[in-house]
């Protein structure tokens, strides 16, 4: 976290160019730009700026957003539930779908359905978000009129297309891993033993699934992180007011303080999700414990 604070945020946010040049109109003079830069604390040496930055971090607000003139952290936290909502729906679509696809494929390897799952999961991983999003808009919003082209609101009509777009990659990756993990389990002696003893196939399936769950949960956590943090393109295409869109808007406006606050929240989210995944391991496998 300290590394994020010191390196990623400060360095990257200072690589995006001079915000003052963008905030003032083309005709502004050098003196006017200098004056604005001073008022924003964007002058002085590298160390001075780092000091000012740490001061903003320590305050917890990350300073006033240059764009909206309110505490930057307040803006980010305001967008967070909307991003969680989208990520949550995408997660609900992707994990059950992917686990089902991977399990079925593993149940009958090299069958037609296995090949279908392989091809479609590879397609999902390879699909470019903005292209998939626009195609879904053209089909379901423009063509069929079932869903909204963008924006945020109650009901599935708003969330379903961005969630579907986001879930393609997660479905592809998790389905492939589930398939290989399940194949691995099916080849183990305890499954052969269970079959020899006449255990019903559905019970064998659940045993194998549980044992295959650890890598799947790890990857699901990684994908949930991606759904939370990697939704910038999808949020822009669908005008979804989450932190991804906020980050892009902050970058477009060279709103340094808002960029810093957004990246900090994204970093914390990644840490928290990884922690939750680690804790889930103990529930999945009692042999794993944290002392």
């Amino acid at each position: 976290m300290l590394a994020v604070v010191l390196v990623v945020i400060f360095v990257i946010s200072n690589l995006i160019g001079d915000p003052v040049a963008l905030m003032l109109p083309t005709e502004a003079t050098a003196a006017q730009r200098e004056e604005l830069a001073e008022s924003l604390g964007l002058t002085g040496s590298w160390w001075d700026r780092l000091g000012a930055y740490l001061e903003r971090v320590a305050s917890g607000t990350f300073g006033q957003s240059l764009w909206q003139d309110v505490p930057a952290m307040q803006l980010v936290l305001g967008r967070l539930p909307v991003t969680f909502y989208l990520a949550g729906v995408a997660f609900l679509i992707s994990v059950p779908t992917a686990v089902l696809m991977g399990s079925i494929a593993a149940f009958k390897p090299r069958s037609l359905i296995d090949r279908f799952v392989n091809v479609s999961s590879l397609g999902g991983v390879s699909t470019v978000d903005f292209w998939a999003g626009l195609m879904l808009i053209m089909i379901f919003s423009v063509g069929l009129g079932w869903t909204r082209t963008g924006g945020f609101g109650p009901g599935l009509a708003y969330v379903i297309l961005p969630a579907l777009t986001l879930s393609f990659r997660a479905i592809g990756r998790i389905a492939q891993l589930t398939r290989s993990a399940m194949l691995d389990e099916y080849s183990k002696p305890y499954v052969r033993m269970a079959r020899a003893k006449g255990m019903p196939e559905h019970r064998i399936f659940f045993h194998a699934l549980k044992n295959a769950a650890i890598p799947v949960v790890t990857l699901s956590g990684d994908e949930f992180n991606h759904l939370l943090n990697g939704a910038i393109v999808v949020e822009v295409v669908f005008a979804w007011p989450g932190i991804g869109l906020l980050l892009l808007q902050a970058i477009e406006r060279r709103d340094l303080f808002l960029i810093e606050a957004t990246i900090a929240v994204i970093a914390v989210l990644a840490i928290v999700v990884n922690l939750i995944v680690d804790l889930l391991y103990t529930s999945l496998n009692p042999k794993i414990s944290y002392r």
Partner: protein, 559 residues
């Protein structure tokens, strides 16, 4: 075995529960700054709660804001626009792209004729120059602001003095600022603007400066002024969900209902929702899907190809042009600059890449100083080759690389236009390097770079210029004159002519500026390319009479 199985099921369930926790309950719309009333200063303490509270209610839910064209009533309009205004305060919000909402709420003293673009009275009925440094405005009587306070000379003076003060003029108004002035109320409906030095086009400048309620500003404070505009216009502010949407509704008491001719339009649409959609294709899709009546400022190719008849080609004032580092050893040779000018196939660019006619100057036809005698450079690659060879024979460093630079995404299709021009110049024997530069760095180098500019830089910049005041003097002082911040050229005769024109009005001003424009044309510090088109997506049920000044007013529309 059974117990372990249950344990495993619980684990998978826990993962799903996490997702459920996040996704089961749809949250409220993000509560950004515009909707923030934690301290109550936006919506509370209104002097007249009956009126003001109704008008300034917080935009609680996006389901209100996300009314669609289909769901909206017959007299409600949905507009999708690319940019969220940085603020709704009068001096900053009145630009072409960010003032699209504000112009319907607040009105200036001086308006523009829809067809000719001439400056005409709006909140002022008449004006005259009392002496060299004083302009007197007679104001329209019997008008109230949306908060019920009266519009009079005192309110107008207050709004002008605030908008053009040092505190606020650093915004979009900076490019339109003339000499300092103070506005004073002479009587209830007579306003004097007293200038430090003569400014013959002050009334034109005031078109940029809408009048807001003095009472609202003083009682509610600057935060409310920035987020909850109060004016005299045909529409009243309802709500603003930052980065998402803005809603306004018809002002039933608007003075223009009784006199549409003087008001320059007839407001009939009851309510308007502006949806902010940064993605171009998403704006196009919103019109295609019937979610929006109007998608503002679309890229030409997407608008023409995807929307067909629903794409409206509106008048525009933006000129695509090329600025040349004339201090560079190669580019200082007039033959090279002329070769670059005649090597560009403007017809092809205007037909295929950037729809619009070839440009003559950096200001459009009708602007003060527009000189019809200036010839548009003909496309003549043979002549260009001759000029390059001639210059080379005389020792010009023709091998030197010309650095063609553009600002990232300055306008749709800019990269393709630049690449076409690069190929055209290379075809006549020049060496051209093309690079897209990030906005911040580009602006640092374009605007007032450290002087003197490095001779070796050799920048040739493809850019866009919009002269909103339709007066070449502003372009001259910002872009052409020796001391102009954006200039890379110096000509004493040009400066003398434009300085003299700055103190004149009418035909004299026009003639001198036109003469100066000819001087510039002959030395070619800038190469005008095309007059850029302006494209909007418009649904079948929207009737809209566009304006010469390019502003988008709801009073020009009906459903």
């Amino acid at each position: 075995m059974r117990a372990r199985s249950r344990n495993g099921t619980r684990s998978v369930g826990a993962v799903a529960a996490l997702a459920l926790l996040a996704g089961a309950c749809a949250p409220d719309a993000p509560d950004d700054a515009g909707a923030d009333d934690d301290d109550g200063d936006v919506v509370a303490d209104a002097e007249d709660p009956d009126d003001a509270d109704d008008d300034t209610e917080e935009p609680d839910e996006v389901d209100d804001a996300e009314e669609t064209a289909e769901a909206a009533g017959d007299d409600e309009i949905v507009v999708v626009t690319a940019e969220d205004p940085p603020t709704l305060e009068a001096p900053y919000g009145y630009s072409a792209t960010t003032g699209v909402v504000l112009r319907n709420i607040q009105e200036p003293l001086v308006g523009r004729d829809r067809e000719s673009g001439e400056f005409v009275g709006l909140l002022a009925t008449d004006w005259e120059a009392v002496d060299d440094t004083t302009w007197r405005f007679e104001l329209r009587e019997g008008i109230d602001f949306h908060d019920g306070s009266p519009f009079n000379a005192e309110a107008a003076a207050h709004a002008l003095n605030i908008s053009w003060s040092e505190d606020f003029v650093d915004g979009p108004l900076l490019g339109f600022k003339g000499p300092d002035f103070e506005a004073v109320a002479v009587d209830e409906y007579t306003l004097d603007v007293e200038l430090e030095s003569p400014d013959p086009i002050l009334p034109n400048r005031l078109w940029m400066s809408p009048i807001f309620s003095q009472e609202h500003f003083e009682q509610e404070g600057e935060d409310a002024w920035r987020e909850e505009p109060i004016g005299t216009g045909p529409y009243e502010f309802v709500s603003w969900d930052r980065g998402q949407s803005i809603e306004i509704e018809l002002n039933d008491d608007w003075w223009g209902h009784d006199d549409p001719e003087a008001a320059g339009g007839e407001a009939t649409i009851e309510r308007a929702t502006y949806l902010i959609r940064g993605d171009q294709q998403s704006r196009v899709a919103a019109v295609q899907a019937g979610e929006a009546h109007l998608a503002e400022r679309l890229p030409a190719d997407q608008c023409l190809n995807d929307l067909g008849d629903a794409c409206l080609d509106a008048p525009n004032i933006d000129i695509a042009h090329i600025r040349i580092d004339t201090m560079n050893p190669l580019l200082s040779d007039i033959r090279i600059r002329e070769a670059m000018a005649v090597a560009i196939d403007r017809e092809a660019i205007g037909d295929e890449l950037l729809p619009g006619p070839p440009a003559r100057m950096l200001v459009p036809d009708g602007a003060t100083g527009y000189n019809e005698d200036i010839p548009i450079f003909d496309f003549d690659p043979d002549r260009a080759r001759e000029l390059v060879e001639e210059a080379e024979a005389d020792g010009a460093p023709v091998d030197q690389t010309i650095n063609l630079r553009v600002e990232r995404e300055k306008f749709p299709g800019i990269n393709e236009v630049a690449q076409a021009i690069q190929a055209m110049w290379q075809d006549v024997g020049l060496t051209v390097d093309f690079e897209v530069v990030d906005s911040a760095l580009f602006l640092e180098e374009l605007i007032d770079p450290p002087r003197p500019i490095d001779e070796d830089r050799g920048w040739v910049v493809l850019h866009q210029h919009s002269n909103r005041l339709a007066d070449f003097h502003g372009t001259a002082t910002s872009w052409y004159q020796c001391e102009a911040p954006i200039s890379t050229w110096c000509d004493e005769e040009f400066d003398a002519l434009t300085d003299e024109a700055g103190g004149l009005t009418g035909d004299e001003r026009h003639e001198l500026l036109a003469e100066a424009a000819m001087v510039a044309h002959e030395d070619i510090p800038f190469i005008p390319v095309v007059e850029m088109g302006l494209f909007h997506g418009v649904s079948d049920d929207l009737d809209w009479e566009t304006r010469a000044d390019t502003n988008v007013y709801l009073k020009d529309m009906s459903l």
